[in-house]
């Protein structure tokens, strides 16, 4: 029991440290696929530390924005911790907690973007809204379904596809980075942020990406592997693997339009989730 709690907390701490490193790795992979050299493996950490050292500029809109940025960071770390507990404690309460934190985190992001007194940010906020709408409800539904029914045989793996897809959408990578879309709306939801606020924003985004990369593994792995240490090893490895796959996919794609994306993603995730529900509702044995 204590070992598990200790492991979960250690994994969460590792996640916060690893997320920026994985991001550097992603930049490195991207660079190699672009035929560039790419940054050193600690580059994102250097960036974050540099930003933290800058003067704090409170954007137009007041301290509320600063508050919400740090709330977002807090929520993403909280989500990371609960997701790691999922690896060891498979009670429905844990799953509900994860679902609540996912939802709260998205809400914080939305509030952050529309609270800024900037047209680009507001446009970004509406775009973010459409991205969240096309994926988040399904992801929450899937988490709760798995939590409520448990995973008893390999048929449950049908649920892996919608989980991976929605998790990818939630990472705000291309083509789902329309809320940021640098060439179109000049970094949209992040436009007013700088210095420590931008660093906090960056850390919460990367932590969220780490959670989304680990979620497919953490939702299904505990039902198949008994040894906690093996779960840790496999969990870490598969999270890294998922992150790398997400990174490569992002390089191969371009950005889409909000309307096109909303339709396509929603239909696909809906279909996959329904398929999962149907498969799961057939009695076992």
């Amino acid at each position: 029991m204590y070992l598990e709690i200790l492991l979960a907390v250690a994994l969460a701490v590792a996640g916060v440290v690893l997320a920026p490193i994985y991001d550097s790795l992603e930049r490195k992979i991207k660079a190699r696929l672009h035929s560039r050299v790419g940054p050193p493996i600690l580059q994102t950490w250097y960036d974050v530390l540099k930003l933290l050292a800058k003067e704090l500029v409170i954007p137009e809109g007041g301290y509320f924005i600063a508050a919400i940025v740090f709330t977002e960071l807090f929520l993403s770390v909280a989500l990371l911790v609960t997701v790691n507990f999922l690896l060891f404690f498979r009670s429905l309460t844990m799953y509900v907690l994860v679902a609540v934190f996912i939802s709260a985190l998205s809400a914080a992001t939305l509030v952050k973007s529309v609270a800024q007194n900037n047209l680009f940010s507001v446009i970004g906020g509406f775009r973010e809204y459409s991205v969240v709408l096309s994926a988040e409800p399904f992801l929450i539904l899937l988490v709760l379904l798995i939590g409520a029914r448990g995973v008893t045989d390999l048929r449950a793996l049908v649920g892996l596809a919608p989980v991976v897809l929605t998790a990818y959408v939630m990472t705000a990578r291309i083509p789902f980075d329309i809320a940021e879309a640098e060439p179109e709306i000049a970094s949209g939801i992040m436009i007013e942020l700088s210095g420590p606020l931008l660093a906090a924003n960056e850390l919460s985004l990367l932590t969220r990406r780490y959670v989304m990369a680990s979620l497919p593994t953490y939702l299904f792995l505990p039902w198949f592997v008994a040894s906690p240490l093996l779960r840790v090893g496999l969990g870490l490895t598969l999270t890294l693997l998922t992150w790398v796959i997400f990174a490569v996919v992002a390089v191969l794609l371009g950005r889409t339009r909000a309307a096109v994306m909303l339709k396509g993603t929603t239909i696909t995730t809906l279909a996959l989730t329904l398929l999962f529900i149907i498969v799961e509702s057939v009695p076992y044995g």
């Binding site: 991207k30 696929l33 672009h34 035929s35 560039r36 047209l119 680009f120 446009i123 291309i174 083509p175 980075d177 329309i178 879309a181 640098e182 060439p183 179109e184 709306i185 000049a186 970094s187 390089v251 191969l252 794609l253 371009g254 950005r255 889409t256 339009r257 909000a258 309307a259 096109v260």
Partner: protein
């Protein structure tokens, strides 16, 4: 009449146009050479002349206002009409006495005259009678009302005090600002997009933020004919060679010099190299705008050898410093020919693969197809040039219409699309890269021998003495972005008036019909699709960019001087 007969055998149709202008509209031929004729018409006949020329298929290349008070106590406006399909220019001059300085506006007859008329008003201070919308185009809002920088009495280095901004036109509604600094515009320009939801309903534009006064400098004592090519190539950071070639062609025409064939071939080769690297640059930027950075990086990787080639031929990556009046400064030897051939093979192979890949990425196709549409009639009315025109079904290419340098000696096709959307503009440019590669190969195959410099142009006799005053010349070069036009009126040792019309100047007004009704997400791609070169467009004025105290553009809280396109 006697003047007419001189060019009648060469261009029979030109004779017909001149007959009509002189006999029906009371015009007078003031100058002619080869495929150019300059006709002065009375003010009251200008609109009819413009109507006649426009309806007989002429494109308005640009107009140039000249302060001729030291010569004949009047101002003049030269409207340069290009008969593209027949390959000759008709320059229509109207004069206005200095105490009655107005000319009729032709913008309702020839919409393409919009910008150059406003520029004439700003720079020379000529009134445009009959125009509905009169506003500042080029001068900043804090510029004194009655100071016109291209008038001869204004010194080239004069810095006027800033005055309180007058009442300038600006849209009542506030739109989404794109610029003056924006990730997709790599130069300062300001677009304001009025949107409903994510759909653009209208566009306002304010440009000319970075003026360098190049036209004024060209006629200042600091510059001579010998130095102007070096000034001209600095008009643009990408297609500098286009501008130096165009200015030099105008000067060579005025001097009556024909550069050696080998020099013409070398110039043509560099022009085509410039087209290749410019188009590759653009394809990369377009991919970046669409969020496809892999395409961006790889296009630029493929482009790099072309830059190294440019350095090999001209001595610098930026193709600067090669061109002189009378020829070029460096020869291309056998060794270089081999290297060029080898590099071209590689670029062709790699870009073929990349272009196939790029045009098959679903996000690129989906977003480029059907967006930013410019119809053929809009393209015709606005006299758009280059790939923008050719993507809208308008067959315009200076290399074919007015063959210059060595373009007569090579065979190539001009890609033409009728869709007028962003995808068509992508495809036109992609195909042009391969055509340019083929042109360079053909030129290298039959590179003639001989000198690369005209024997008259040496250090002993400065070029400045070869060009007599009082001559006119119009030269056009097909730049990567379209037709680049230089108009020259010669003076003593330096131009009396040198007017530069860069391709983007002609294409920006087309953005308004292109952007309206499209999703906001595609607006940056559409703006990028004309391959705008703002440094070329903003070339024409003396402004103190160093102080610029009162000229800060505020995005919020007013002070924005956005103009209707």
């Amino acid at each position: 009449m006697g003047e007419r007969s001189r060019y009648l055998p060469e261009c029979p149709e030109m004779g017909e146009v001149v007959r009509k202008l002189t006999e029906e509209y009371g015009g007078r031929v003031i100058f002619s050479r080869g495929t150019e004729v300059y006709v002065e018409v009375p003010r009251h006949a200008l609109r009819d002349v413009a109507k006649y020329l426009y309806s007989s298929g002429a494109f308005l290349k640009t107009c140039a206002a000249v302060d001729e008070r030291p010569l004949n106590s009047s101002f003049a406006v030269y409207h340069i009409f290009g008969m593209d399909s027949r390959g000759y220019d008709v320059v229509v001059k109207v004069s206005a006495p200095e105490n009655d300085a107005w000319v009729p506006s032709i913008v309702d007859v020839v919409p393409a005259a919009d910008w150059c008329e406003l520029e004439a008003r700003d720079m020379i201070g000529i009134e445009l009678r009959g125009r509905k919308l009169v506003r500042r185009l080029v001068l900043p809002e804090d510029w004194p009302e009655d100071l016109h920088p291209l008038r001869k009495e204004v010194p080239h280095d004069f810095r006027p005090p800033s005055v309180k901004a007058g009442s300038e036109f600006r849209p009542a509604e506030r739109g989404i600002p794109i610029g003056p600094y924006h990730p997709v515009l790599h130069e300062p320009e300001y677009f304001e997009l009025l949107v409903e939801g994510e759909t653009v309903v209208d566009v306002y534009y304010r440009g000319f933020h970075v003026h360098r006064g190049i036209e004024k400098l060209g006629e200042s004592p600091r510059f001579t004919y010998q130095k102007i090519p070096f000034l001209a190539e600095r008009i643009c950071g990408i297609c500098g060679f286009v501008h130096s070639t165009c200015a030099i062609m105008a000067m060579e025409k005025a001097a009556g010099i024909k550069p050696p064939e080998r020099a013409e071939y070398i110039r043509t080769i560099v022009l085509e190299l410039e087209r290749i690297h410019s188009h590759l640059l653009w394809v990369g930027v377009a991919a970046h705008v669409l969020g496809y950075d892999a395409g961006f990086m790889h296009t630029w990787r493929v482009r790099e050898p072309v830059m190294i080639l440019s350095e090999l031929i001209t001595g610098s990556r930026k193709t600067y410093g090669l061109n002189l009046v009378g020829g070029v400064r460096r020869d291309v030897d056998k060794d270089k020919v081999g290297k060029i051939m080898k590099t071209l093979d590689r670029v062709e192979r790699e870009f073929k693969e990349l272009a196939n890949l790029l045009t098959s990425v679903p996000q690129i196709r989906k977003r480029a197809q059907g967006t930013g549409v410019l119809t053929r009639s809009e393209a015709r009315a606005l006299s758009v040039v280059g790939p923008v025109a050719r993507a809208s079904g308008l067959y315009r290419d200076v290399r074919k219409d007015y063959p210059y340098l060595a373009y007569k000696e090579v065979s190539f096709k001009v890609p033409l699309y009728t869709e007028g959307d962003n995808l068509a503009r992508v495809l036109v440019r992609v195909e042009e890269v391969f055509e340019s590669i083929s042109i360079i190969r053909q030129l290298l195959d039959k590179l003639p021998g001989g000198p690369v410099m005209h024997e008259k142009c040496s250090a002993v006799i400065p070029v400045d003495e070869l060009i007599p005053p009082g001559k006119y010349a119009v030269a056009a070069v097909e730049a990567p972005r379209g037709e680049d036009v230089h108009f020259l009126m010669t003076g003593e040792g330096r131009p009396y008036r040198w007017r530069v019309r860069a391709p983007t100047y002609q294409n920006i007004p087309a953005l308004r019909p292109m952007l309206r009704g499209d999703p906001l997400a595609d607006a940056p791609l559409t703006i990028a699709s004309i391959d705008p070169c703002f440094s070329c467009t903003d070339r024409a004025l003396v402004i103190d960019v160093r102080t610029g105290r009162a000229r800060t553009i505020k995005l919020w809280g007013g002070g924005v001087d956005a103009c209707r396109l």
